[in-house]
C-alpha cells in the first residue's frame, strides 16, 4: 500500500520508492538499485495498491501488436 498515488507515472514512482525506503531503511537510490537488480517494476493495481511485478511477466502483457498502440 502506498498512500498518495495520483496515477501519474513519475509522481507515483517517487511516492512508491519513498514508501519502500521508509519501510526498509534503505535510501531511495538503494531502493531503485534493488528494483533494477531484482528486475521488478511497478504496476498500479487499484486504489492505493502498487504491485511489484517481475519484468518478464510484465512484458508478456505488452504483446499488444501495433494496432494496440495509439500513435504508431
Amino acid at each position: 500500500m502506498s498512500k498518495g498515488l495520483v496515477y501519474e507515472h513519475a509522481a507515483d514512482a517517487r511516492t512508491t520508492v519513498q514508501h519502500l525506503a521508509n519501510e526498509s531503511g534503505l535510501t531511495p537510490t538503494q531502493v531503485q538499485q534493488w528494483l533494477a537488480k531484482q528486475n521488478v517494476r511497478m504496476h498500479h493495481f487499484r486504489g492505493s495498491t502498487m504491485q511489484l511485478v517481475p519484468t518478464s511477466l510484465h512484458t508478456q502483457v505488452h504483446h499488444t501488436g501495433s494496432r494496440g498502440m495509439k500513435g504508431l
Partner: protein
C-alpha cells in the same frame, strides 16, 4: 569523450557491482539480430556503459507536459535489460523499426525510431499510446536530469 557519454557519465551507475559495456563484436551481433544498425549514440552508450541505471530519480523534460521518469538504460547482451530480446518480444517494435533503449519504473519504454531518428515513449501501463518525446537521441539525453534528493 563524445557528448552523449560526457552527458551521461555523471548520471549513471551500474545495476550490479560494475558496468558491463559491450564490445564492438557484441554490438555487431546485436545489430544482426535487430536487422537495424544502431545509431552512433546508442553504440557509444553500449561501448561505454552497457546496461545501467541512474544515480537518483531521473526525469526527462518534455515540452508542454509533465516530465517522464526514466529508470534503466538497456544493454545489448545478457538476459535482462537487453534491447535485442526486448525488441524481439514486441511485434509493434519490429513492425515499426523501434529500438528500445530505456524503461521507466512501470516497464514502459523509450525507443529510438530507426526510420526517423526520433525518440518515442511507449506507454503500456496507461493509455497504450506512443508519443514523440525528442527529435533525436542527443536531444533526449540532454533533457535527462537527476532530481536532488
Amino acid at each position: 569523450m563524445n557528448s552523449i557519454v560526457e552527458l551521461l557519465t555523471p548520471k549513471v551507475i551500474p545495476v550490479d557491482e560494475v558496468l558491463d559495456p559491450a564490445s564492438a563484436e557484441e554490438i555487431a551481433v546485436a545489430e544482426s539480430r535487430l536487422g537495424i544498425a544502431l545509431p552512433v549514440e546508442l553504440r557509444d552508450i553500449q561501448i561505454s556503459f552497457g546496461r545501467c541505471m541512474f544515480c537518483g530519480e531521473a526525469l526527462v523534460d518534455i515540452p508542454g507536459t509533465e516530465p517522464l521518469g526514466i529508470f534503466t538504460l538497456f544493454g545489448c547482451k545478457g538476459d535482462v535489460g537487453n534491447l535485442v530480446s526486448d525488441f524481439e518480444a514486441h511485434d509493434e517494435m519490429q513492425h515499426n523499426g523501434l529500438v528500445p533503449f530505456a524503461d521507466d519504473c512501470f516497464n514502459n519504454r523509450f525507443v529510438w525510431r530507426s526510420t526517423q531518428g526520433d525518440v518515442l515513449f511507449l506507454d503500456y501501463s496507461g493509455e497504450r499510446r506512443a508519443i514523440v518525446v525528442a527529435s533525436s537521441l542527443e536531444e533526449f539525453v540532454r533533457r535527462i536530469h537527476i532530481v536532488p534528493s
